[in-house]
């Protein structure tokens, strides 16, 4: 049993969706995991390190959830190809740990039997055994072990120590890898797609095994069904959904206020500290006006992003998200989408990129393409900094009934995005995909309380992604912009602010010709250029442009009041309308290129979004001009 000199064996976790597989993965690996993509595709590849109490090392791979090896989605194809050893760049696993929901073996065991036929070393983890016990389900593990001819262990993925049986089994059951095994790995297994007779026979076998090993009282479904009677109700259900989303966005604004104020104060103090302790120089200008003002102004929105993701992850964990998909399926079907589009689109509220990637769970290509094309219309969190800045500067903090006016405006912007997405999807339905039927086949899992550790790990993952984006792309662009707006310096005896004579000023003034009809001044036009890389950069860019062009010293953290003083209300509204539509994100377009494997769709997307943005801003600006009595522009 010595682990010295032994290469880490590779394990995969394989199981149905909703069997608690990822929670088990989190329990086994803790924070020692890394998330990447499978080569060539963007299905999440989660790998982690696992060390047994005796010191045995394993590499653990969390495969995408699958109902069957007979794949109906890209996720399932990945799972099948990994266990078959047929995926390029991925070694065939040494051992498979099948994870099954112990409360739902009738559904889960079929996959176990299917995988067993591959003949790989394998064991079964009966997960959620605590719930099974609570429901009066008794499983004769010894008998099940005999019937399946593989080790069977109980696990409770949401409890500390809930995988101790699994770890103990790993200590003893795994054959030591033969020395010099590299290259001596088992060849790819042969696998034939089953036909109806195969599946029927397997299902009969499942029922025979269940009869022999599991005693289950009549399923007590009252708890779930009492909730579902309300949650899935056509009227109450939709009201609950609307209320949930509304609460989510109010929370994003109100809970985040305190941490945001703290970050603003901290960043401001840091900039001031640098400003007073460094000699007047280009370096000081770069640090204070470029890096601290730019990145600090973006970092401040991390609390909002985390709160948003806390809601999304909790809704996902609780089992509510698929129910929202159920509620919206027919409504989304009228514009040619499926209920499954809902989850990618909801993710797009955080960022279009994970949303576009999540569209892989939609097995139908046309549904998927439609979902991808409208994903950028969902108000992503990168737009929040822009919205928050402009709303904070131009919309008063008054209460309308019980609601905050600022919150209402934000809500209206989200609604505008959703409504236009539906309109675009409807147009796609009428032109591209006429009268085709796509399967839904969506599982509505039992309700569960979201689990703290899983939420935390999920949040950490998002925070890391956001901060890395801030750290890399945004920092680079802020510095580039600082350079563009600092050089060349103003000529002798110049009267305007220095930035007007810089490269950025020239570019902005050139763009102003295009943007003047929709009310944008040259400062905004400049900020839109680096904003192409990521929308939130526009805020940092405005900060840089205004910090550099203003004559006072106190502009570092005070962008909002400055904008309120220098922009008209129609300009502010026009910019809000612009950000509802604008294709202001090269990363999104790159993701679309990758996901559709063609330049056609990202170019199409950029074209239609730019057109919509310009039209919307134009209408908004003109209407607002008339309403505010500022008749001409």
């Amino acid at each position: 049993m010595s682990s010295t000199g032994e290469a880490a064996l590779s394990l995969v976790l394989l199981g149905n969706p909703n069997c608690g597989k990822t929670a088990l993965f989190n329990l086994l690996t803790g924070s020692r995991q890394k998330v990447a993509n499978y080569p060539g595709v963007t299905v999440d590849r989660k790998e982690g390190q696992l060390t047994t109490p005796a010191g045995r090392q394993f590499r653990l791979l969390d495969l995408p959830g699958a109902y069957s090896l007979n794949a109906a989605s890209i996720d399932e194809e990945i799972t099948r190809d990994v266990v078959l050893g047929a995926l390029a760049g991925e070694q065939r696993p040494d051992m498979i740990v099948c994870v099954s929901d112990a409360t739902n073996l009738k559904l889960n065991l079929r996959l176990v039997l299917e995988v067993k036929r591959l003949g790989l070393p394998m064991m079964l983890a009966l997960n959620m055994t605590d719930l099974a016990r609570k429901r009066g389900i008794t499983i004769d593990v010894a008998a099940l072990q005999r019937e399946l001819d593989m080790p069977v262990v109980n696990t409770v993925a949401v409890r500390r120590g809930g995988a101790s049986d699994l770890l103990a089994e790993l200590e003893s059951a795994v054959p030591a890898k033969p020395p010099g095994h590299a290259g001596a790995r088992p060849p790819a297994a042969a696998w034939l797609a089953p036909d109806a007779a195969d599946v029927t026979a397997t299902q009969r076998e499942v029922r025979r095994i269940l009869a022999a090993c599991v005693r289950e009282p009549a399923i007590d479904t009252r708890f779930d069904e009492r909730i579902d009677r309300v949650v899935l109700h056509p009227v109450w259900g939709l009201l609950i959904l609307a209320a949930t989303l509304f609460l989510m966005f109010q929370a994003v604004f109100s809970w985040a206020r305190l941490p945001m104020e703290m970050i603003t104060a901290g960043v401001g103090a840091f900039g001031e500290f640098l400003g007073t302790h460094m000699p007047e120089s280009l370096l000081r200008s770069l640090l204070v006006d470029g890096i601290v003002a730019g990145v600090g102004g973006v970092l401040v929105f991390l609390p909002q992003i985390l709160i948003l993701f806390l809601f999304i992850l909790a809704l996902e964990d609780s089992g509510y998200l698929p129910r929202a998909a159920f509620l919206l399926d027919r409504l989304m079907g009228t514009v040619g989408l499926s209920g499954r589009s809902f989850i990618p689109l909801l993710s797009s509220f955080a960022c279009a990129i994970p949303g576009i990637m999540a569209a892989r769970t939609i097995s139908n290509w046309r549904d998927r393409l439609a979902t991808i094309m409208i994903a950028p219309l969902m108000t992503c969190s990168a737009r929040l900094p822009v919205y928050a800045l402009i709303i904070g500067a131009f919309i008063p903090q008054t209460m309308v009934g019980v609601f905050n006016l600022q919150g209402l405006v934000l809500f209206a912007l989200y609604v505008a995005g959703v409504v236009s997405a539906m309109a675009v999807a409807a147009v796609l339905k009428m032109t591209v995909s006429k009268g085709l039927q796509h399967p839904l086949l969506l599982e509505l899992p039992s309700y569960r309380l979201p689990h703290g550790r899983n939420l935390l790990l999920g949040l950490l993952e998002r925070a890391k992604i956001f901060l890395l984006r801030v750290g890399n792309i945004i920092l680079a662009l802020t510095v580039l912009l600082w350079f563009l707006s600092t050089f060349p310096g103003a000529p002798e005896g110049a009267s305007g602010p220095a930035i007007q004579y810089s490269y950025a000023g020239m570019l902005g003034q050139a763009l102003e010709v295009i943007f003047a009809p929709i009310g944008f001044n040259w400062q905004i036009s400049i900020a839109l250029v680096p904003g192409m890389a990521a929308r939130e950069v526009a805020v940092g860019a405005l900060g840089t442009v205004y910090a550099l062009s203003a004559t006072g010293d106190d502009v570092a953290g005070q962008l909002g009041p400055l904008l309120a003083a220098s922009w008209s209300l129609p300009t502010a509204f026009s910019l809000l309308a612009w950000f509802v539509f604008a294709p202001q994100c090269l990363a999104t377009l790159a993701a679309v290129k990758r996901e559709t494997n063609s330049w056609r769709y990202p170019l199409l997307m950029a074209g239609y979004l730019f057109t919509l943005a310009y039209l919307a801003s134009f209408v908004t600006y003109r209407v607002a001009l008339v309403l505010t009595g500022g008749g001409h522009a």
Binding site: S68, D195, Q203, D329, P439, E443, L444, P445
Partner: protein, 96 residues
Amino acid sequence: MNGALELISLFDLPQGHEGTVSGGNVAAAGGDAARELALRLYEIGFVDGERVRVVARGFPGGEPIAVRVGGTIFALRRFEAERVLVAPLRNGRAKP
């Protein structure tokens, strides 16, 4: 069992009612897509003799339907539910 009763499509089973899946029909017809769908329905448990119950219906048009099969609820669209034939139970109304 309910051999005497007529078979109806799962989509036509009223909300809250129970039925028994009648096998040997879902995979009978259609092209590749229809066969794949039928296989998947088998795989997730819509096999001969299995009890099913319509838990909820969507809006508008009563579509999709949420069906309990075994210990799981699946949401199916109309054309998917119509691939499954069921024999309604005589006293099909489940206790509230």
